[in-house]
Amino acid sequence: MKKEKKIYEDLTPIQNKAQITFILVGTIFLFLLFFFWKIQILDHNKFWRQSEANRIREIILPPQRGLIEDRNGIILATNIASFQISIIRENCQDIEQSYQKISRLLGLELSVLRERIEKYKFLPMFQPIVIMDNLDVNEVSRVKARQAEFPELIIQSEPKRNYPYEALAAHVLGYLQEISQEEIRQSISQRRPGDLVGKTGIEKEYESLLVGKEGRVLEIADSLGRRVGEISRVGSYPGRDIRLTLDFALQRKAEELLEGREGAVVVLDPRTGEILALASFPTFDPNKFISRFSPEEWLNLLRDPDFPLENRAIRGLYAPGSIFKLAMSLGVLDSQVVSEWKTYYCTGSTRIYGHPFACWFKGGHGSVNLINGIKNSCNIYFYQVGKLMGIEEIAKYARMLGLGSLTGIDLPGEKEGLVPDPDWKRKVRNEPWYPGETISVSIGQGPIQVTPLQIAAYTALFANRGKSVSPYLYKNKSVPTSEGQADIQESIFEKVITGMWKSANEGGTGRAASVQGFDVCSKTGSTQVVSTATAKKLGEREKIIKTHSWFTGFAPRENPEIVVTIIVEYGGMGGATAAPLAGEIFRLYRENHDR
């Protein structure tokens, strides 16, 4: 024993320290056990959900948007394949580095890219953000070839809206643009940032029919965004095709006629209210800005002083001018302020309430009754009857004929115009009605405002001898169009129509619109854009240049089939500018329907 003690030194203190250390180790184990119990048992549900969310990815399958066709099945809006490139931020190793590499790869400016992504930074990191779209196969293949270097980029194909006839009927069809935050909030069906939606025209009006239902694929993805498997798949459902009442040939003709001018053409079928053509000029090619981004073309259109994006046919507000004389005539006959044979003598000008009022024909029309008043569009005659009727009566008949209220066409943004009366003036301008204003309104001048579409519907009411129709564009619209009947004798309409017929066929102002054997009935108008006083200062020539040129008419006289309304801004006299254009449309219609 003694020997052993010499060899083995006493290590008890060291051993004790080891024991204490080991107790410490055991304590840490217990602490850890408690900690894992908390994470794995108490917080299990939370982490379980997070791990599920980690691996499941939702892919949206965009639906095919419904086609838009003319009444004969000619396709006006279709879809073609295009590609888009999106970024999944979650897969970026280093966001900044990624931006720079992508910017180089795609030739996209860094600031543009950053701005683009910034706009959608509230989206979850795994959700793709579109950074380029409208790409064709060649552009995409370059990116595809280097896909391995860019796990954060994904290429998706999407159907892209295409308008094969470019600007044709652009104002009717409308266009698509990226959905706004506001629209997302308002939408009933689930729409997401980045979706394209109809912003105007049929594309907007029938968005819910056209859009279809998107499909969804739930797939399992690994942390690099690579697809590992699929959980479920619901295919997309294409949108409904929409057949319009538009007639391709008439629409194209209408636009050809307006080429180089500013104005609008409305052609409709008075029997049903079907719109056969609805053109507005200047126009635009919607193909050029179907994009999530705002290219130069779009900004140029917005800046253009001629407002090419405005649909003048339903949103342009004009004084109706002499076209309003049809409403006046109806009022004269119905209210019997004077008989249809009562004549007034036109010397080219007159004084009423101490103010001079002129006829457009300086030489004067001589003795004028109602029918001739319509045929020659004599101002003096209508000044006199207007004075007798008074503004309240005039407004009553104007409203009865649909002026001052929406026609109800299935296009967004229609304007209702204005039929003025003393009440309106008090409320809006806080001024009394001046008797002289009644005289101006009698020939469709002054504060009265109408849209070309309203005039077309108003003309249809005359053509139908009092039966009103509401114009529409969607051929298969299930809701019946509302029809009304003005409470005025048919014989009264016949008398006004006689005047209209003479206007076109017996050397009246609408003669340039007549078509051999098609019994066109018409009324022209030339509305002053500047006041008479200003016009005097500018001189005779300027005055002609500064009038809008109106035409409205229907054909044939019995059982009318077509109404044509045209306005050419700053076009001069209605009979000289608008009427010949209308003649071409009547002629084309007749050619196409006599075969």
Binding site: I7, Y8, E9, L11, I14, Q15, K17, A18, Q19, T21, F22, V25, G26, I28, F29, L32, L33, F35, F36, W37, I39, Q40, I41, D43, H44, K46, F47, W48, Q50, S51, E52, N54, R55, R89, E90, C92, M125, I220, A221, D222, S223, L224, V228
Partner: protein, 363 residues
Amino acid sequence: MIDRNQVRNIDWVLIGLLILNSVIGIAFIHSSSHYLPGNHALKQFFWLLAALIALFVFLSVNYTILIAYSLYFYSITIIILSGILLFGRLTAGTKSWIVLPFFRIQPSEITKIAVILVLAHMFSTYRKGSLSIGHGVLSILIVGIPVLLVGLQPDLGTALTYIPILLAVFVMVGLKRRTIIIFVILALLLGIVGWSAVLKDYQKERITTLLTPEKDPLGSGYQTIQSKIAIGSGGFLGKGYKKGTQSQLRFLPARHTDFIFSVIGEEFGFIGVIVTFLLYFLFLARLFQSVSKSRDRAGAFIIYMVAGMIAFQFFVNVFMTIGLFPIAGVPLPLFSYGGSSLLTNFLAVSLVINVSMRRFVNV
């Protein structure tokens, strides 16, 4: 050199636990890397065989001889560490590897064995009740030089694993209260200087995200969050072997290396965690018990240093997987993929057995 008595005294239980833990490790290496190129599990298995052979070869040499030659070992390893720092090529951002034709090794791991032996040598004849200044400075230098060299690679994680060796020595020798105070102040100063001058940005980030991992879920916090999701989603029973979505779908980073414990937690749940803890607890218990099986001071020091080193690494790694420690790149001893680490741990345990099997030998 080796007689029958000594063979009978080999701690087979310890070797059994060593192998058992390593084999479980290989199973999880397989689970978390079978879809990756290069058969990691098979490679690790070969490393295990090699490490086992090395263990027995190492046993045949009396540890007193190893201690006697320790300064040479130490010098050689320091030269190698300096060499790769000067001439080595960057691999994965650090210069920690010697790349050989069929495998590569991390000298920074093996160096720990030399450090342990040198310290054992130094204190084998030290008889004072507490650490003298001279010995204190010397032992700090012995550990500090390789720590500095490894830290410069830069491999902060491995450098960190040298610290428990030094602490173990201090505890064994004993410190005066005054010395402890001086050390605490020094450590604080070092921390401040290190934070502002030495630590690289990404290293600082790892420490700050420890406090708020959710602040930057895709940056430094990502790994911690994904690891916690893996462990937490495992629940009580786990998702099943090779069925952990966090691991299989690669949301979990460094699955077969630093985060292998998260894979265990995900695929075998709380039960798996308890079993692993139990096995490790037994293993560490066996190591600490071995301290009393040493017949001399040097042997006890060796065993204590080895036990401390492995326990420290184990806890740092597990703490890291649940976000209680910054992501430091410290592998889970015996479990994580990596030959150098496995070999080093086997050699370290080999030293422990070397000491305990020779406890009855007369000098």
